[in-house]
Amino acid sequence: MITLSFRIAGGDFDSAGLAARKLKEQLSKLGVDASVLRRAMIAAYEAEMNVVIHARTGTLWARVDETKLDLEVADEGPGIPDVALALQEGWSTASEQARQMGFGAGLGLPNIRRSSDHFQIETRVGRGTRIRSTILFGTGSPSAAQAPVSAIPLMVDADRCRGCRRCIFACPVGAIRARDRRPVLREHLCIGCTACIEECPDSAFDIPRAPLPVVPADALLLAPRGLLAALFGIRPPEQVLSALRELGFTEVRLLEEWEESLLAEARREAAARELPLPRIPPLCPPITAVIESRFPSLIPNLCVFHSPAEAACEEFPLRPVFLVAACPGQYGECSRSSLTERLTVVSPAALKAAIRPLLDVQPAVRLPLGVAVPHRASPQPGELAASGARSVLRVLSRAETGALGRAALLELRFCAGGCSASPLLGSQPELTDMWQTVAVTAGVTPQVPAGVAARAMPFAQRPGLRLDAAMGEAIRKLSRIDGETRSLPGRDCGSCGAPSCAAFAEDVVMGRAARADCPFTENHR
């Protein structure tokens, strides 16, 4: 694998196309197929021209491996107020100068999309735009390509596990099985919550714990609710903030700021009454995942915005950003597919490990580091807030059947008490508010206010639960599962490794488990 990067200067029509040309030279050396090369050059050149025509400055990254080419172009510029409009052929906001040169025909973005097997655009008005394009080698048929399916970054350490099986019952979506007394994750079902991490007495579940890399100059730390409280649990607040500054962070921002912005947007949507109610802002990645997989009829209720963490990461396109993830879902969502090394996703444990040695040395000079406290808007009538897996699943079932009446907005969080209760933080959620009001510097006004980021791609149903791609076959399998379930004892004892007899029956029919794994059948092995 090889990653290349090229700077692009906005407004410089004389050297426009240089980045694409250099990229072509490199790709030609790699022996990339001609038709792939043509599509790659269309995408790269058009993206480069967009920066030249519209933005102040930008960068083109390209990553090549044996199977595909990934392109990413990020700029600091005006952003795109209406992405759907900008993707229409013939729509353009280019200057008269650009048009006279034969640009600004409104074909740029459509050309990039048509040349890509996978295309993604993220944009913030007044801030900038980021385009990602993937071109697959070999197949040649863009339609055959699938959007990449992301794996949940939940790690299972089998050596720590002592085989108690609590996790298989704790998982709210039944994504864990015990095999040879060790947990095995059914990745296609996992929604990236923290239930197994919380339940496990042996700490066998975790998110990737790579140590904190060297923090570059002017780096920003994005912290989930409760992280500071967790760190303050180690030492006094001033000392912790001073140590963060010493690690290299010049700014610390709380993700709650972006949660508030998203909630405000959802409130606007709820008040407008143009979209299906209740509105569900995608505050929490596991909530979004559970809606996409288990409650697809509620997908139209999801506000089509990026999560607070995603929005915050995109807010600073050309600045090094470190995000501390509070759950596997957030970790996966933010570490997904970015080619730029500007964004680093780390676990709370990694940050704690990095900060601890600095707390023991008294710094010669204490460097000030303030943290802005987000203003929390008071809830409006018709808003329902719920947290914790059981409560949330109950609310979603009711919303699906229309039993929530006139609810206008659902503020749902998978961890009971919100992100500050994540077992990965190891904080005391009850103390979070106290710490934040007592310790965090009030009166700090951040230069870049927290905004929201509209999703270019709508939410979509996850195929994970589907028994078969063909509906007829899926129906046959369902009836066989039903028959199997009735022939089982119904104790939901977990001896077979599945959380319930129904889950075991499905595993048997789908060929993932043997009938003889149930100890209560005649031919138990």
């Binding site: 029509f13 004389d14 426009a16 196309g17 694409a20 040309r21 072509k24 043509r38 050059m41 269309i42 050149y45 058009e46 021209m49 040169m101 034969g102 640009f103 025909a105 074909l107 740029g108 050309n111 048509r114 040349s115």
Partner: protein
């Protein structure tokens, strides 16, 4: 058809005399457009572009689209640096006083064809 034959048949002025025209292969396709995004996406590789755009980006687009030559119509003439870059990129440049429409008609009569979309 060879570039030299096309140039002679249309009475085109060769702007890149340092390039041996024989090096380009047979040319049997062409594209007429002033919108560079359209050229990039739709011009047939190995073909000729007819345009009235004369700035440096035409050469860049021609390189990416793999074109053999560019004909500047309606008396338009590119500056020297554009000609030098084209020569370096081995793309022949020609000029004609005739319009894009007439030039395209003559190329069509010689047997050159455009690319049909879809």
């Amino acid at each position: 058809m060879k570039l030299r034959q096309i140039a002679e048949a249309l009475g085109l002025e060769n702007l890149t005399t340092e390039l041996p025209m024989e090096e380009a292969g047979n040319v049997d396709s062409a594209h007429a457009s002033d919108l560079l995004s359209d050229v990039l996406a739709n011009a047939p590789a190995g073909g000729v572009l007819i345009t009235i755009q004369v700035h440096m980006n035409v050469v860049a687009v021609a390189v990416h689209a793999g074109l053999a030559a560019v004909v500047f119509a309606s008396g338009m003439r590119p500056p020297a640096d554009v000609r030098a870059r084209a020569a370096a990129e081995k793309i022949s440049l020609f000029a004609t006083r005739e319009s894009t429409f007439d030039t395209a008609g003559k190329l069509y009569a010689l047997g050159l064809r455009g690319k049909t979309k879809g």
